[in-house]
Symmetry: none
DNA sequence: AATGAATGAGTGTTCATTCAT
DNA sequence: GATGAATGAACACTCATTCAT
């Protein structure tokens, strides 16, 4: 007859609130009070479920990574041929800013900035980046092999693709007004396809 | 009798101190006290030369933009053929992170994060981005023409290049450990060259 | 489970502390630290209960107005004939400085000074002044009618009375040493009574 | 051949600047920087001519007192009969707010507020008030004598008049919007004339 | 689990005053 | 006399964190 713990649900609510607030305010301005208000909870409750504000941030990074991974799986399931799968993946990721989850994109940009100065955040950020890079390298490698090329070019191509995506997120958050519309997915695909074509034979 | 004004020199010192502190601490943590200490000045003096902390940030954005513009001019002077000039430019810009001015790159990443939330910062950030985009569009256009292609592809190619560079800066600041070494310049050049080759005839 | 809110009580305490500090220090010198100390609270707590220092001031104006209104009601209840009621009222008000609430008088003088420069304070100050003026006009009108005079003279007589009272407060706070003792109530009553006698017939 | 000292002229300029700034900003907000700017002088120069900010305030009180005294003399010169002279005087003083020197009135109100909390200011304020009171007592006494009354009523009548004037200044600065127009001079004269008429025979 | 008050260090900013020139 | 930079101690206000209830 003991009360069921709702800690996990509460934690998820708080992380989601942090996402929403951080997307438009940044980490420093995402105060505990603001997060609590966004979540509809009492401020004191936040520190009951999280030791510190940074712990919420770390949980948020994990949550965003999980979400991106889900999109990766979904995109993979939609196509069979390597190039088609890559295309689906890039469209999925770069579509985040426009349609699906602009909040998540903005928060991710903020997390990137925090990663520059908080070592602990940088650590988990790098883990996510490394995983993404590995996924991309795998995909690019498959595309290269299918095109009769050597896998050797995959890591650098993947890194370039990741940089392009990261930059597109940043610019969509901070300079949308001066960027062309919808260039990003097209640019990423062109970069990949041309890069494959230009890669040396296996 | 009268005393000579040293405001311009002091302002430059303060901006430089802001650059240094912000590069490793971010904007919020770059407190006036910290900036003053870095500059070796009394805290109260900062506000004698700048109306607000944000004004220092805006001055820093201008300073970085000026510096990048100088590099652009220098890079242009070294080569004549469009593609050679583009290559020189990309090498110059993307070399910032590794050799020349990693502090400036880190600060620029922080400024990008601030641009997401501070409208006034966003404005000047966008001005700089727009100028960079215009330069890149001009260069890509020249390359396309030289290759007998239509200029029409230039804006999107330039946007992709800018995103790639922006992302490379972000990742060099926050995830250097997991990225391949020296991929960025190569990736940018490959993206440009392949993009030109794939563009429709004029 | 939940904790009961003590905000209203705390707010009242803080307003009272502001009254005490402001009475002898003025608004600018009534620092949040000083108010907190007077109230026996931690400085940070002040801003938990009030959004800003000015908000405390505005609450104080309301509190003083409420207090004056109570005295008005009390004074009214003590007498029936218009002139007797007026006399009771003036004695009540002008007795504030000497006996009842010299702190409140001093604070009211300070509020008057703030009203000159802070628009928001001026607004509420004027509201209180206008209410007082309306009360006085009503009383003077009743006295005039009772004496068979026209009500037309009431507004100007009331204004003169209010000025006399306001000035008496100011001088009792800043120049008590050089003013005759207990002149104020007598002067106000003489002004009113003589003014009624000199008013034109209805 | 030594440079002629312009200290007196400079001091007067600074005092005048303090008057202007204080009239709309109050004493605390009348910063040395603001006064210097108003006077068109370098900030550092202020403290060359005045030991402290308070010293400027004290000089201002004296200057306003001198100005009021001049008006007193002028008003006296315009009429011979005691009542006519009183009337001229009250018109002169209470006309300050509307026509002649609203700045001076506003500053005087601010000085009155400072007098409540700064002992040194209170001292000179009281001196001025005492002098004014003496002048008024003399005038009222003359009027009483002329009307065949005892001088005994003069001090209290003078005090009431001074309170009325002081309050009129305060309300013209802080609550002009809700007060009747031009009531003050009329009210003061009525108070004096009726008071004389009601005074006991000599 | 939950509440909301409480704490106190820290923030950007202001400003009287000082001082080298 | 005059200048304008420099100082440092305030100030109002913010906020992560703690704690009694």
């Amino acid at each position: 007859m003991s009360r069921k713990s709702n800690t996990e649900a509460r934690r998820a609510e708080i992380v989601e609130a942090m996402l929403a607030v951080m997307a438009q305010q940044g980490y420093e301005k995402a105060t505990i009070q603001a997060v609590a208000k966004q979540a509809g909870l009492a401020p004191g409750l936040i520190h009951y479920h999280f030791k510190s504000k940074q712990e919420i941030l770390l949980a948020l990074v994990q949550a965003i990574a999980r979400y991106a991974q889900q999109r990766y799986q979904t995109a993979l399931g939609e196509a069979q041929a390597p190039v088609a799968r890559l295309q689906a993946y890039l469209n999925a990721q770069l579509g985040l800013g426009e349609g699906a989850a602009p909040q998540m994109v903005a928060a991710w940009v903020m997390i990137g900035a925090e990663a520059v100065r908080q070592a602990e955040v940088r650590e988990v950020y790098q883990t996510v980046i490394a995983a993404e890079l590995a996924s991309l390298t795998q995909m690019m490698g498959d595309c290269l092999v299918e095109a009769g090329r050597s896998r050797a070019a995959a890591p650098d191509l993947a890194a370039g693709l990741l940089a392009l995506m990261t930059g597109a997120f940043q610019l969509s958050s901070a300079a949308q007004a001066v960027m062309p519309t919808g260039y990003a997915a097209e640019a990423a695909i062109a970069y990949a396809v041309n890069g494959i074509a230009a890669a040396p034979q296996a």
